[in-house]
Symmetry: C2
Subunit: 384 residues, 2 copies
């Protein structure tokens, strides 16, 4: 096991009805800015429920944070918050809204050009505290300190991580996911699955608990993902899905182990240039990435084949092939295509994607920093 520091101070309020408990979680005297996305939280009544739970706490609203939240939109919220002297943010939505709110939280007190937080990893002295009400299990943003933001003007999609942007609290009410379209549920399952893969399918590090936890989360997604689509109002299934997605990226399974993230980095460029959903890009890239790097990942791929897919007999290479195919079939079974062609993207797209990776310095990805541009190209070619 590698040395690590683990610290996750986010308070989780889990279960049906927990929105009603947010009042006492907000510092007394706070001026709150509620942030949300395209309006589904208005339609479903979740936003009204949140406002009711705030009681006498004064609040403003900022809607319109888009999927793959943009710097341009978020800076409007920053200006509003600065002008109105907001001192607590409350994100109501999915990972995009929460990611966007983290950026708003860090940008409000930031001196200088806030884009530098992303582009130059400029240090963050402090951030405005915030909480979240999660409506879409997927990204894990509700219990971590990471955020991914897109700049529309340049099609840059960049990340920052800072302990100051852990949510103070997050409400996870599984019933708030009942009205999600199937595509968003399927995307969430794929997103969480690939988060786990990025922290698990690397090389063995004698970290037995982290491995068992990662496998347990994957097994839960495999069991519950199809049920979440088939039975949208099955509370137990949605609860398991929601808690799994949170634990997939809250630092726990990644503590003390090597991490990959090459699939995410390549996927980000596909979203930036072609507008695919984040999870769609992961479903495309992961199987090809595992295939291209099967030699380096051999030990963990065999463990994955055995413990997650029950493939314990026969030729080792055949087991690895089968495990990668099962992964692909699982994503496809959720109606998430796993090839670029499934999204109408052909070979002509590869050179611009590789150029974009180069421009963003993504030239030494993966747990061994050996995924250079040539290997990324190979992955994209295999993903056609």
């Amino acid at each position: 096991m590698q040395n690590f520091v683990f610290h996750n101070p986010t308070r989780i309020l889990f279960g049906e009805g927990q929105i009603a408990a947010i009042g006492p979680e907000i510092p007394s005297g706070a001026r709150v800015l509620i942030t949300y996305g395209g309006g589904s939280v208005v339609k479903t009544g979740t936003l009204a429920e949140v406002k009711a739970a705030l009681g006498d706490i004064p609040f403003l609203e900022f809607g319109g944070i888009e999927p793959n939240p943009t710097y341009e939109t978020l800076m409007q919220a920053v200006e509003l918050a600065r002008r109105e002297k907001v001192d607590f943010l409350l994100a109501v939505g999915g990972g995009s809204v929460i990611d966007g709110t983290k950026f708003i939280a860090a940008a409000i007190p930031f001196e200088g050009e806030p884009w530098d937080i992303l582009a130059k990893h400029a240090p963050i002295a402090r951030a405005v505290p915030f909480g979240s009400v999660l409506t879409l299990p997927a990204t894990g943003s509700e219990m971590n300190a990471a955020s991914v933001i897109t700049r529309s003007a340049t099609r840059d999609k960049l990340a920052f991580i800072d302990p100051s942007v852990f949510p103070r609290f997050s409400v996870l009410d599984p019933t708030k996911t009942y009205t999600l379209p199937p595509r968003q549920i399927a995307n969430g399952v794929v997103d969480a699955f690939v988060h786990i893969a990025e922290q698990y399918l690397t090389y063995p590090a004698d970290a037995k608990v982290q491995d068992r936890f990662a496998e347990g989360l994957m097994l839960t997604l495999i069991e519950e993902g199809p049920k979440a689509l088939a039975e949208p109002e099955n509370y137990a299934v949605r609860a398991n899905l929601m808690w799994t997605a949170t634990l997939a990226l809250n630092g726990l399974i990644g503590a003390g182990v090597p991490q990959d993230w090459a699939t995410h980095m390549v996927g980000h460029e596909i979203t930036a240039l072609h507008g695919l959903d984040h999870a769609q890009t992961l479903a495309v890239v992961l199987p090809a990435m595992l295939q291209v790097r099967r030699f380096d990942k051999r030990g963990k791929l065999l463990q994955y084949a055995g413990r997650v897919w029950g493939l314990r007999e026969g030729d080792e290479d055949a087991r690895i092939d089968a495990a990668i195919e099962r992964t692909r079939d699982f994503f496809e079974s959720l109606q998430v295509p796993t090839r670029l062609s499934g999204y109408g993207i052909g070979a002509e797209a590869i050179a611009p994607l590789v150029d974009q990776l180069e421009r963003h310095g993504m030239t030494a990805l993966g747990e061994r920093q050996d995924v250079d541009l040539a290997r990324s190209r190979e992955v994209l070619e295999l993903a056609l």
Copy 2:
């Protein structure tokens, strides 16, 4: 899944050499009281290493906290801390030292008789902040807010839980466990295993992740426990054991599920009246407790048999019997006897133990509050 609140703010510094990193974790200007046990941390040099890491930070020392820490001893530390205006505590040791330090932390600012914190669950307005340097993987006290204290005069062993006594940080350096006697390692494995059992072997609650995590921790203990005894300086093994014991009782696997704790409550009385090590009492009580309550725990016992012990074929009752026997054999393989007779305790001890349970109000234990004194007696009789 049941509704839950999960919040664990303890910062974990894990790995060899992490003691050197504690300085910045202590608030500047703090007056520190280092607390420790019987002197093994003096002999091994761990205490000196901690002092060196404190650098210029002023500190006092209080040694002599015993296994099953006593109110009488701890109140001496409280008096010292009050007199010297200590405002940060640093526990160096195992679960007893950390549990004791939690009580000291809560008692220093407590107005009134601090024993009421235990005997009357008197509310704690605040506690002195503290950190820990763990030397014995077992109790999980390093990452939770629970504490068990014994009053020598009356042989009462009582617990309190309060969010104010989460450690601010805990250092987990696996090399600090190399010099532990085999009995303490074995006890630690049993203690952690039974902590998991108390949160897992109840009734099904559709909490798939919590179940998978609990099973993963048990499997790790089964794999690593014997190796920890056979190869005391195997870093990877000690690291896995240490992290497993912490995760066994940090709130994670117990969130959203029913919990039992009857084995602990009965075990506490055996320690109070007969002086057995805490883990020895758990090894004695758990197999008998599972056998007596096998009907109520049937679903989870079958799951345990299958997923933890690989017992998936044949008659269900035979599988349950086999799983309980495997549990007993596992403890015995670590040289921890699993019957009262193994500690020279006979049938004449049962009536006083049951009386003691009654005196402490332990008359409705377990996840269904249906373990009354008659069932506890039955458990003790089966454990002879």
